[in-house]
Amino acid sequence: MKKAILYLNQFFGQIGGEELADHAPEIREGLVGPAMELNKQLGDEVEVTHTIICGDNFMGSRQEEAINTILGFLEGKEFDIFFAGPAFRAGRYGSACGNICKAVQDKFKVPTITSMNDENPGVEMFRKELFIFKGGASAAAMRNDVKAMAQFGLKLIKREELLPAEEEGYFGRGIRKQVWLNPPVVATERVIDMLLKKVHGQPFETELPIPKQDLVPIAKALTAEELSKLEVAVVTSGGIVPVGNPDRIQSASATKWGKYDISKLEDLVKGEFMTIHAGFDPMAANNDPDVIVPLDALRAYEKEGKIGGVYKYFYSTVGTGTTQAEAARMGKEIAAELVEAGVKAVILTST
């Protein structure tokens, strides 16, 4: 019989919730929590022999130590496949599952499988390197998600032929594999067929999918006439704040943003504004904050009538070490304020 080992966080490992997220890695013989369902789904051919449990914060903040400890647990153990999660939409857990799967697969050369919801940042971090199954948003999807991991695990162990990622149910790794078609249809026929479908506006499927970037629809251009009547708002990730940093925005990995009244100012001057960005030498921006928030130039365009004015607040945060998720959240919050204020034009300066 083949053997499997499962990784869980402190919550699913039944240690406890957030207050126990610092729980150090441990390994237990036998089945804990979701390991039971996994063992059941794997049937008679594969047995889950051990469950590894590690607190999400322990893995997050002492990652190297956590991974080395776990690799140490696994040293000398016989196992043919390694599972982690499912992590659903839990970001830290997803990242932990990704990190441990990658480490285990690199060191022990066994296949690893995990499962996450598409909103989990762990997906983008690890999809190119791992089999990450498309999981549900919450633990309500536990049974389905475990089943998907188990079924694919059995296929890997039995070395069955694998279908494309989309059909198997994991996030595409961007790997292109050549296959023999059955029945064989030569490329010239396939391409003409595709072209005809395209010409006739029928659906067709490309054989070389290009990973799609998540772009937003382009906002329509304003007319010069409109712009001459509109206030332009400035948003920056360059960390410009009033001296003293009243909102205590972090100098790196920011989770806060601030807005500062510039309605009576013509220019941002040294001694009143500064940058708190820890990702570059602040001297130039401290001497002249306009190099990041170009209020002086915007005032000039206001006087010329090119723009109606400058929105009374500028918005600021720090864009170094800031996760995309945090940046998106802050962006959403700022956008909501701007929409509320009727702002239609924004200059975003980044450093």
């Binding site: 970037q213 937003v216 382009i218 948003v235 990730s237 130039a284 940046a327 924004v346 975003l348």
Partner: protein, 79 residues
């Protein structure tokens, strides 16, 4: 941030030094700046020259807001 603001229907232009990063994260209108620590004015040049550069590039950004684009676009600057 750019994307979230644009998603809200606001016309936005990003002034960035790392244009490839701005592109990757999905900015649609982009204007290059000259560096990370001083995007709009090199302190090693005279104040007047810094002002000219800043005034020019902010102008390009404002023009970008009034330019219809159908794909991610980097607007050209002269100074």
């Amino acid at each position: 941030m750019n994307k979230e603001i644009e998603k809200a229907g606001i016309t936005i232009v990003q002034m960035a030094n790392l244009i490839p990063v701005a592109k990757t994260v999905g900015a649609n209108r982009m204007v290059p700046t000259i560096s990370i620590p001083y995007p709009l004015g090199d302190p090693n040049t005279p104040k007047e020259q810094q002002w000219k550069l800043r005034y020019h590039r902010v102008g390009v950004a404002l023009d970008a807001l009034t330019t219809e684009v159908d794909e991610q676009t980097v607007f050209k600057v002269k100074i």
